[in-house]
Assembly symmetry: C2
Homo-oligomer: 268 residues x 2
């Protein structure tokens, strides 16, 4: 039951260096907050990131919506990640065959693998997608999250599909450190390897006081996600940059996520 351990304990036990690094970071910053900053200009992305950097452990980007992305954007994001001590998660949702995702991850204008510590992938093409991405990511000490479940209405990432994500992750622990999901999955099917396992769960669709967006997004609160469902990192988007004061919003979500975590591990 890794969710009952503290992040520090999990950092100490984890064999994957990327997972270890994230748990250490969470403990150090007392935060389990990831901000999803879906803006369309470089200046806006950097301005928001500079403001909220002290409160987050993961900056989640959609780099392909930035109309003026250039090589310097990646340089500046990396500088901010170093300055404020967070990791960058490019939410690319890779979804093609192995040979194609290798190129999409390493090449193109965005060269995602060169700056994103974390990325993610759908498993619908089969396990080849993980193998393809790993060929690029493992030598760079990057890590991958699999989309096991989605927060949107009518999501087909359910049932057997979700279980298959768990099986694929178990077979690819050198690269795959966890899931985008709504709850912990380990208990759903026996772990036949017998090895200790501790996947990281990052959960999108987190917001206080909103139920949806009219295009199928469905929200839950930090307490539901962390305390009730055992997830590790809350991903908050429009709750931070949608309205009100950025820094105040980030602080509210950092505290809400951390309090739920402390309650979960019995430290509160």
């Amino acid at each position: 039951m890794s969710q009952l351990k503290t992040y520090a304990e999990r950092a100490a036990l984890h064999k994957n260096p990327s997972a270890k690094r994230l748990f250490e970071l969470m403990e150090r910053k007392q935060s389990n907050l990831s901000a999803s900053v879906d803006v369309t200009t470089k200046a806006e992305l950097l301005r928001i990131t500079e403001a909220i950097g002290p409160y987050i452990v993961v900056l989640k980007t959609h780099i392909d919506i930035l109309s003026d992305f250039d090589a310097d954007t990646a340089v500046q994001l990396t500088r901010l990640a170093d300055k404020h001590d967070f990791l960058i998660f490019e939410d690319r949702k890779f979804a093609d065959i192995g040979n194609t995702v290798k190129l999409q991850y390493s090449s193109g204008v965005h060269k995602i693998a060169s700056w994103a510590h974390i990325t993610n992938a759908h498993i619908v093409p089969g396990e080849g997608i993980v193998k393809g991405l790993a060929e690029v990511g493992v030598p760079l000490q990057r890590c991958l999250l699999l989309l096991a479940e989605m927060s949107s209405k009518g999501s087909l990432a359910t049932g057997e599909y979700t279980l298959e994500a768990l099986r694929i992750a178990r077979r690819n622990k050198d690269f795959c450190v966890g899931f985008i999901g709504q709850r912990r999955l380990e208990g759903l099917i026996p772990n036949e390897t017998g090895e200790e396992e501790d996947f990281i769960y990052m959960t999108p669709g987190v917001q206080l006081g909103s139920k949806g967006d009219g295009l199928g997004q469905q929200y839950r609160t930090p307490r539901e996600v962390v305390l009730e469902c055992g997830c590790d990192v809350i991903i908050v988007g429009r709750g931070i940059y949608g309205s009100g004061d950025l820094v105040e919003n980030a602080k509210v979500y950092q505290k809400a996520g951390w309090d739920a975590y402390l309650e979960r591990v019995g430290r509160k």
Copy 2:
């Protein structure tokens, strides 16, 4: 049984202007060949496209693997599409929630909706992905293919997932004109609307004389895909640009695909 009709007959009957346009084009060029050109520089993409343009009806791109993509790349691709009479299909495999894919489709460095006549999407996030893309694509007279099946090993786009793609397509015919798939789907579940339906099937993983690529891709021949499985457009990648003479390869696949079609509709 729309696959027993000629492309000209299907063009005449179809209500969606994008589908009509593609069927007319196929008849005019006597081709059902789509080339998938997965190269990483603008010069290489334009050189290959210029060479094979006369033989294809659809150029399939992965624009995000071009390291030197710029606004002029889209201008040049559009010029070649006009010159050689083909449509551009950006194989983006959108796979996020509606609000995000709207931005990915319309914005960013690539501005896909501004130049790609056709794009595609996974349905795993639920129907909101189609609604989000349609808000951008319908006003521009673009069209969408849903990924109903994949050609890669261990694909999870099977069974109920594939049927759900058919249901979603039936509910979104103003934008969704067909599928990426391995066979026709209409017969699998009754069409409760009672309306005539004629979806376009485009099939990747087509190659003469190869079985796979070592990263999970599995190949079939044009004859298997068009004659036996009733698909409409064969997507050929490494079979054209992998080795040998580009133009000769394109001619071979154009003839193989067209012959299989003629046999299917009883014209041969």
